[in-house]
Symmetry: C2
Subunit: 140 residues, 2 copies
DNA sequence: CTCTAAATGCGAATGATTTGCGTTTCATAT
DNA sequence: ATATGAAACGCAAATCATTCGCATTTAGAG
């Protein structure tokens, strides 16, 4: 969906900065931080502007926000296929799971609990092969 | 496991405050915040002391820390069966999943990525039946 | 009992995020 | 095209959980 369309649907004014932010979000195929958004858009925007805009979209349920285990909020446009991450606790490098393994479970859970489930967070933590090798070397 | 035993195994000195903290953790059958620990122990301890002690235990992998979607760290002693939560975004009331559905997936993921996976976080967000009813009423 | 390393308290520092407010810009009606 | 009110923006100060530095106290080995 194009940035103009998203803004119209959200009933928000169309500005250069907002289009740039949406463009960056659409381009990123993984969750990104507000800081990253602020840095990677051509039209420089103040961090507070970025936070405010992203927050507004989240309120309108047109953007997903998840707080990862590093304590930082990551944002992503809701795509047909969202993904989850496996992050190295040492170097923070992460790989994505190819697809979300929870869709079926979520439906089952809704039936069992009566909750209307609006989202979920799944994050794996571990040690990547490179760091595992390093740690082994250092211990000798 | 008793508090004395945990401290001995962690190679940490045995103090009144630490025993109180461990006691509280053992008594809580759900993840708790550092703030809660500080408030609910008889022997008053400074927050920084609580944070330091909990942090030390986490480092030694004798305590689990997970950052929830409210951005706050929750701690729990590792039990034979850990669980995950489904939290109402409105009233914060939560129900537990009966068991962790990720064990198999995690092993498969280790094979595929070469990462050594040390933990995971799974958290569902939704609206509980009570709040759903309320929201519907308010909209009329 | 003595002595040292570890534990504690306190306050200041940190870092992501939010907020208040004055200024600028969008977009709608004239 | 222009005026105008509302929304967006920039900036700096506030917030809040968490961490850190340092001086003081205490556990527990010898």
């Amino acid at each position: 969906m194009t940035g103009e369309r998203i803004l119209a649907q959200a009933n928000l004014k169309c500005t250069e900065k907002r289009l740039a932010m949406l463009d960056y979000l659409a381009r990123s195929h993984h969750p990104v931080t507000a800081e990253e958004v602020a840095q990677h858009i051509g039209a420089a925007a103040h961090v507070s502007t970025v936070y405010r805009f992203l927050g507004t979209l989240v309120e309108k349920e047109m953007l997903l926000r998840e707080i990862h285990q590093d304590g930082i909020a990551y944002y992503q446009l809701p795509q047909s296929r969202h993904c989850h991450m496996l992050t190295c606790r040492n170097c923070r490098r992460s790989v994505n799971l190819p697809h979300c393994p929870l869709t079926g479970l979520q439906q089952q859970l809704e039936r069992q609990t009566g909750y209307h489930i609006t989202g979920h967070l799944l994050e794996f933590t571990g040690v990547c092969p490179t760091c595992a090798k390093k740690e082994k070397t250092e211990k000798i």
